[in-house]
Amino acid sequence: MTFKVVWEFPVALYLFLGGMTSAAYYIGVLAELFSRGKYRNLARVSSYVVFVPIIIGLLMLLADLGRPSYFWHLMFQLEPSGHLVLQKGSVMSVGVWLLVVYIAVCGVVYPAFWLAEEKIGNRLPIIKSLKGKDSLRKKIGYIGLVPAFLVSIYTGVLLAATSGALWSSTPFLPILFVASAGSAGVAAIVLALALQKETKIEAFKKLVSTDLVFIYLEFLAVLVLLVTLFFAGEALEAIKRILIGNFAVLFWVGFFLVGIILPYLMDEYHLKHQRGEGKGLPVAAAILGLSGGLFLRYLVLMAGYIR
């Protein structure tokens, strides 16, 4: 028996892209900050992976609406008289404005500074005036950390603030989504780096180490979630279907094998036996990691309707 299945693949994809882009952003900015500038290239590359995927995510949301042409009701309404809309208790309402700020700062303004440093940046009208403004760029980057972290978290809170037992009977889903977003974000940066012609290998080594952190957290989060859900007693049928029922393949193969075990093995092998050299394994792990991340979001979404 299921509750009404109203959010399906488009929403799962949006949740995935929101997490992936926001984590890629904050990992890149923090990499530059913590390395005192050595890894500034990561901040550059990761800022480029924000805009297009998040716009795709937004289009998914728009397509999922029952009345997409009224999407603006989320931000502005005309009755009883024209006013801005913010429903403070609604995670979705807060999320809409969060996304606006996030896309503006992390998807447009911050990457514009990096674009200004590129060859193509010299020819673009407003962007070329941002060239060389390194300290301003960094400040904007730090400001952008706030919406980026919040977007990473918000996708989990959105599902958790409902009555779906799997999502809401414990408060731990946001932790799983932060972890999953993190490994997807790392994967996105790895793939973006791999597309560059000249890249020092050291960056891959650092990213692989970061991937491992998020994989550990993901594994832990899933464990904690399953155990606490079991003891909370409300999502037992959902857990059963995830572990041994109709979602078992998606869980054990799609999420666990493809998203956790294989990337973990590849990352470890890359660090220990390849001494952090070579691009092949990190890229393969990244592709698997992205797939696993998407499988997880879809799985969590679809299993949430079971009662």
């Binding site: 509750f3 009404k4 109203v6 959010w7 990992i27 923090l30 990499a31 913590f34 390395s35 005192r36 050595k38 890894y39 500034r40 290239n41 999922d64 609406l65 029952g66 009345r67 997409p68 999407f71 009701h73 989320l74 309404q77 809309v85 429903q87 208790g89 609604s90 995670v91 979705m92 309402s93 999320g95 809409v96 440093e117 972290f149 990473s152 978290i153 989990g156 809170v157 603030a161 409902t162 009555s163 779906g164 809401s168 408060p171 731990f172 889903l173 946001p174 932790i175 989504f177 932060v178 972890a179 993190g182 560059q196 000249e198 020092k200 960056a203 970061t210 952190v213 957290l217 949430g304």
Partner: protein
């Protein structure tokens, strides 16, 4: 002196006018609260569903569909959805008896649908009736997944979420909800909340005497009170009702906090460790001197 005289007269004229209009406004005006009390006489009314009396005839479901111009008035639906605003669930009790549980919007005092609705379409109107404004709703379906009773449904036809509106249109005309009017055995009552609560308590007493030890009134504590009350012969869970339904976004702050904890920990500890460069690193020094391309790494 002449000026003062005129001023005083003007003052008295205008303040008299002001007083009179304020008084008139109090009695005939549009301010909610005082004047609205008279126009929402259903503020202190409630509905009582006596599950033990229900015979499962579904007259209520049919009457509801007809009163609200919903399609397929004679088609049974297991769940309430966008086109079925009330229905009866058939639950088996321990002794294999079938119990008939009417389901409809509970019109909670603290509704989850209104709590999470991002546009404010789902809201509590004066008098306690919870509606989903069909002009404002964008069909995001958050209310469908947030309702602890699984009441609202998404309509492909209208592109919005829809549910029972406590026959608000009928109430405004001085009528009672269609389901209450249609019930042939009086299992659905509409009246003063306090009176219905007293009736319900008495009914529960009778049921306990008949051997239904877990008989109870449902809807007093749940979500700060439901406008639709129930006399249940068994525990709620047996009848498909949540024992302690929670406000969907009630612990949202805690859930945000969990996410912030996870993200904060990850950012501060492991990420910092991984990317930390000692001051004397040649790579850093090179960047700080302004040498080296930005793609050096």
């Amino acid at each position: 002196m002449k000026e003062v005289g005129i001023k005083r007269r003007c003052f008295l004229k205008f303040s008299g006018l002001a007083f009179a209009s304020t008084a008139a406004n109090c009695f005939f005006g549009l301010r909610p609260g005082f004047a609205a009390e008279g126009r929402t006489p259903w503020r202190n009314k409630a509905m009582l569903n006596d599950t033990a009396k229900c015979i499962g005839c579904l007259s209520c479901a049919t009457a509801c569909k007809k009163a609200n111009s919903l399609p397929d008035p004679y088609k049974y639906s297991l769940e309430t959805d966008a086109e079925t605003w009330t229905t009866v669930k058939f639950k088996k009790a321990a002794d294999n008896r079938v119990l008939n549980v009417k389901m409809q919007c509970m019109h909670c005092t603290t509704p989850s649908c209104a709590g999470i609705c991002p546009t404010g379409a789902a809201r509590v109107t004066e008098g306690g009736v919870v509606v989903i404004d069909q002009e404002v709703c964008i069909g995001c379906k958050n209310c469908v997944v947030a309702c602890p009773f699984n009441v609202p449904g998404f309509s492909e036809e209208t592109g919005t979420a829809r549910k029972c509106i406590f026959c608000k249109g009928r109430l405004e005309k001085g009528l009672i909800p269609a389901c209450a009017e249609a019930c042939p055995v009086g299992a659905i009552e509409y009246g003063d909340r306090s009176e219905l609560l007293a009736k319900a308590a008495k009914r529960v007493g009778e049921l306990v005497q008949e051997g239904y030890n877990n008989a109870q009134v449902y809807g007093i504590q749940q979500l700060d009170g439901l406008k639709v009350l129930y006399v249940l012969p068994e525990a709620p869970e047996i009848l498909g009702l949540p024992h302690s339904p929670k406000l969907a976004n009630g612990d949202a702050v805690l859930k945000w906090a969990m996410g912030i904890l996870a993200a904060g920990f990850v950012a501060m500890a492991p990420l910092r460790e991984i990317f930390r460069e000692p001051c004397k690193s040649p790579g850093v020094a090179k960047i700080q001197r302004g040498e080296g391309k930005s793609y050096d790494i």
